[in-house]
Amino acid sequence: MLEQLDSTFPILTCLLFFPLVGAAVLWLFDDEDLVRTSALTIALVELALAIFVLMRFVPGSPAMQFVEHVPWIPALGISYHLAVDGISVLFVGLTAFLTVLVVIYSWDTIRYQTKLYMMALLALETTTMGVFISLDLILFFVFWELMLIPSYFLIKLWGGGAERHYAALKYVLYTLLGSVFMLVGIALLNINYHNYASLHHMDQLYSFDLLELLAVPVPLHQQMLIFWLMFMGFAFKAPVFPFHTWLPDALLEGPIGMAVVLAGIKLGTFGFMRFSIPLLPEASKSPTVVSMMMALGLAAIVYGAIMALVQPDFRRLLAYSSISHLGFIVIGLFALNYQGLQGSLLTMINLGFTTAGLFFIAGFLQSRQQTTQLTAFGGMAKHTPLLAAFFLLIGLASIGLPGTNGFVGEFLVLLGTFKAHWVFGAFAVTGVIFGAAYFLWYYERSMMGPVGKAVRESIDDLHLREMVIAVSLAIMILWIGLYPAPFLRMMNGSVQALVNRIDHGTVAVLKERGREMSDTRPAGDEPLAARPGSLAADSL
């Protein structure tokens, strides 16, 4: 993970700020159609940039690629450090992809302040990209927090529900509260680095840089503290059960576009994978953390699924189904083995096509019947066969039918979990049954059976823009389901590096560094194991 591949052209900076600049340009336009067309163009160019990054990405390599590193506040060791690796590169593509679809979806469904909406959306894209490609923890934190501003307004101003103001505020406050703890955790990492650096007379005394922080050991008790602080940030955002109550509100009250981003782009669990686990490997594999995370994950799987079963509103059902899916990601992550991590990562990406896809379906339903309540539907397949077909395909992918993307991720997660702790794995498999039950039962009642009384006579099937969205999602779902090799190859190098990191822990870094130092500094250095305060091998 320490190896870096530099690029000559600052492609990531372009990727990062292009939507924001685009948003600023949008400000100049007044014509609504021009705004829409420009927003779409910007999103498409951004997608092209993202695809370029994906294509030039060296698969199978654990290295950080397309690195850009410029000092920002050198005194504190804060820098503008961007890069992608196998863990983050697919999120870059996913974010760009979903933004395009959201712009297309919003074409005629946003009828109020279109310009502001598109600007907020593009700003959200920039901040989301920032979260994924920042290697400096402060830079990451800045984007993490900045994300809330466009999100807040998107929910508040363009939400459809009566409670949208409350939902927006709840979302922001919940995330902020978590972030405060996370910030403390980040600060503690910095302090730990500082202590170590001072003791070893290193050139740089402060750092918030992920790669540099990875290179110093962190004592186990410190790791535990930092882990739980960062947990607050990531778990609130994810959201991990039982910190999820903001999610149904935000998804139900906010606009579909925001719901797609919230449910499709898994920032919280990405945080665990990017920061918590590699920075705090000993804490992550301590029995306390593993059993706690497994318990939360399993509870989420079953709780979310049973909750989803009884929801009459499709968007609320989706909220609980995403909580259930998040449980799968969490147990996969804390299985801490290859399949678990790989499966979790792939599942995070998958949900961007499946759960987010189902939110688009919810949007299609909403724009036809002005609600996603079950009472408004019934026998829809008769009048809207295409809608019903895509609904089924995306839904089946979300419950992990083999041949779709959902299966590959879920299979790996369950296999990894089963390998690590078979009891948890066996328990998690029940989620497979519940998933089928809640999705198919809703599908049966909304799409099959006699045509519902509330269904309008003149109801239309999918129109062109909706078809574009549905077909793009279907292609991704089947591609990853049937031929996931390109995606797996991209992530494999980094996942292997992460597994090594977990296996060897910060002790390995210590030894590595010790060897380096004994080469470069011939004398006067005390033996590592004897140094007080450092991570003692027996504390593992």
Binding site: L169, V180, L188, Y338, V429, L440, E444, M448, N492
Partner: protein, 655 residues
């Protein structure tokens, strides 16, 4: 060459799915849709013959890798195929019977809405079923396994605007998923023990497997098999699955998909062999299901439901066979059953077709002269399933029963024998009520009765011939051609010598049982037609219990479905009131805390948590006002965060 043929087998129907599914509705007529559908399956059948000929000639299995599917770390799963004798037999059944049913469907489905959709689903089913039997590892088997489940779901729900069809489809999928969960666990156990999912590699290291682990894997596999093959206790979805069009019942719910569990057990027989416990469980479940489903079949009045229960029962025989180690016999019965049950379902379809959709046998009768071909063919099917020599069903069923007897499983033998009597009885009852006696049809239906077109009768004739002669590939018992062919894949089953006299005696007994069942049905439904009602009235509770299928569906509802929904509602309350209540309470506490007067509260909570209270307050205001307020709060919370940070850092530095 053979490798290419193997790869082509699933490709033809796949291409047809893509063509018919994506653009068929818009670009070509029903004519071309069905030609593409049966044509592709026909081509697969021809490829299968080519592959089969090669396997027979060379006697070797072929393993072909198409492409790497899931990999990473120590896991590699290829999209790869294995064609050995066992797969060959399955392939012949699937593509052969599948082809006939596709052709039949052209006539049966003529004029239905969604004609192209029907054939798309059928072809998709073929692809899945082919992956299921051809996969060289558990994961590819699982794609097929859930794929056929999906197609079963789609085709049961083909008439999706019928509530009963929609419900049956969901039920089938969810119940199957229970089995699939078990199967997934088995896959994980296999991977943990063998570090691979490829059959050949797994079976090569089978010696290292501990008996306990073998039992665990076998039982998990069995859960999967029970779900797919509709055995006790997960059989309830299959009778409901009759909501689908009749060709679907024939193809999926009789001849192919439901036998996947048997195939899977035989495929893994090396693991099952290590665990006598698991084998006993397989045998007992099989025997119990064979008998249990047969009793329900005695009193059902829907022609397709009788056949459905008989399928459950016959699958029970196959499980029984596998459970006593008669793997070849189980596959033999799987094959003959595919012939005669497809024949029975399709000719039942022909009856239904003739009667404009009527399925209730109480409203039939006297059809033998009106639809003579259908009648003759149905009769052949009945004789075959009843087990009267020399028809196909006799040889395979007798082999299972004989094996049970000679291997001293007398209880299972007894169950199978009683089941055989019931089978013979209810099948002849069905035949008598449908084709003989006085007509009980209404005039409107009666006026329209017509023999089905050649496109339907033709496939039936082929199946009729197969039902008549198919048993001879397993003749003489235990030493037939099939036994030699399957020996490398399914193990030799006739390892200890049995005297010819005993074999012949058992055959006589089996034939006698079947004939007795026939005689009984003849007496009750031809000689003395008032007797059944009197007997039913006498039996009272027993009769109504059977009529209501032992109330198992109601029991499951009471035990599992309703409690789960109740739990859902309870958790929903918990989520809204308790969990969210805590969140709201924290907000309110912060609000109240703000009223406190100490300096710390003012400075810490103001910026930190009180914002919740402010938020609630501000919610009512216009968004413009909040916009400016927001930045304010944002700054406040960052400040609070930094303050908290400073405190923590202070504490740490002091320590």
């Amino acid at each position: 060459m053979t490798d290419l043929l193997i790869k082509l087998i699933p490709v033809f129907p796949l291409l047809a799915v893509i063509a018919n599914g994506l653009i068929g509705r818009y670009l070509w007529s029903h004519e071309w849709a069905h030609r593409l559908a049966w044509g592709s399956v026909g081509l697969s059948f021809l490829c299968t013959i080519g592959v089969f000929a090669d396997v027979v000639r060379t006697g070797t299995a072929h393993e072909v890798v198409a492409y790497p599917w899931i990999f990473g770390g120590d896991l590699t799963i290829n999209m790869a195929f294995l064609v050995d004798p066992l797969t060959c037999v399955m392939l012949l059944v699937v593509t052969g019977v599948g082809f006939l049913i596709h052709v039949y469907s052209v006539g049966y489905m003529h004029g239905e809405d969604g004609f192209t959709r029907f054939f798309t689903y059928m072809n998709l089913f073929m692809v899945s079923m082919l992956l299921l039997v051809m996969g060289n590892n558990y994961a590819v088997l699982f794609i097929g396994w859930e794929g056929v489940g999906l197609c079963s779901y789609l085709l049961i729900g083909y008439y999706y605007d019928k509530v009963s069809a929609a419900k049956a489809a969901t039920k089938a999928f969810v119940v199957n998923r229970i089995g699939d969960a078990g199967f997934l666990l088995a896959i994980f156990l296999v991977f943990i023990n063998f570090k691979t999912l490829d059959y050949t590699k797994v079976f090569a290291q089978i010696g290292h497997l501990s008996p306990e682990m073998a039992t665990a894997i076998s039982l998990c596999l069995l859960v999967g098999a029970i779900g797919k093959s509709a055995q006790i206790p997960l059989y309830t979805w299959l009778p409901d699955a009759m909501e689908g069009p009749t060709p679907v019942s024939a193809l999926i719910h009789a001849a192919t998909m439901v036998t996947a569990g048997v195939y899977m057990i035989v495929r893994n027989h090396l693991i099952f062999d290590l665990s006598p416990v698991a084998l006993t469980v397989v045998g007992v479940i099989g025997g119990a299901t064979a008998l249990f489903a047969a009793t329900i079949g005695l009193v059902q009045n829907d022609i397709k439901r009788v056949l459905a229960y008989s399928t459950v029962s016959q699958l029970g025989y196959m499980f029984l066979g596998a459970g006593i180690g008669a793997y070849t016999a189980a596959i033999f019965h799987l094959m003959t059953h595919a012939f005669f049950k497809a024949l029975l379902f399709l000719s039942a379809g022909s009856v239904i077709h003739a009667l404009s959709g009527e399925q209730d046998i109480r409203k039939m009768g006297g059809l033998s002269h009106k639809i003579p071909w259908t009648h003759k063919l149905f009769f052949i099917g009945t004789i075959a399933i009843a087990g009267i020599p020399p028809f196909a069903g006799f040889w395979s069923k007798d082999e299972i029963m004989a094996h049970a007897f000679t291997h001293h499983h007398y209880v299972l033998y007894g169950m199978a024998a009683i089941g055989a009597l019931l089978t013979s009885f209810y099948m002849f009852r069905l035949t008598y009520l449908t084709f003989y006696g006085k007509s009980r049809m209404d005039h409107h239906t009666e006026a329209h009765v017509h023999e089905s077109p050649m496109v339907m009768i033709g496939p039936l004739m082929v199946l009729g011939v197969l039902s008549l002669t198919g048993g001879f590939i397993g003749f003489p018992p235990d030493q037939g051609w099939l036994h030699d062919f399957l020996a490398p894949a399914a193990g030799a089953s006739g390892e200890h010598e049995v005297s010819t006299g005993l074999v012949l005696t058992l055959m006589m007994i089996a034939s006698g049982i079947a004939l007795f069942g026939w005689a009984l049905a003849h007496y009750l439904y031809s000689v003395n037609p008032t007797a059944p009602d009197r007997w039913a009235a006498k039996a009272g509770v027993l009769y109504s219990t059977l009529m209501n299928k032992y109330y198992i569906d109601e029991l499951y509802d009471l035990l599992f479905v309703e409690p789960t929904k109740k739990w859902g509602l309870a958790l929903d309350w918990f989520d809204r009131v308790v969990l969210d209540g805590i969140v709201r309470a924290v907000g309110h506490m912060a609000e109240m805390g703000a009223a406190g007067s100490t300096w710390v509260e003012k400075h810490v909570i103001y910026g930190g948590i009180n914002i919740v209270g402010y938020g609630n307050h501000l919610m009512a205001r216009q968004w413009r006002q909040l916009q400016s307020g927001m930045v304010h709060h944002y700054a406040a919370i960052i400040v609070a965060g930094l303050f908290l940070l400073a405190v923590v850092i202070q504490l740490i530095v002091q320590r």
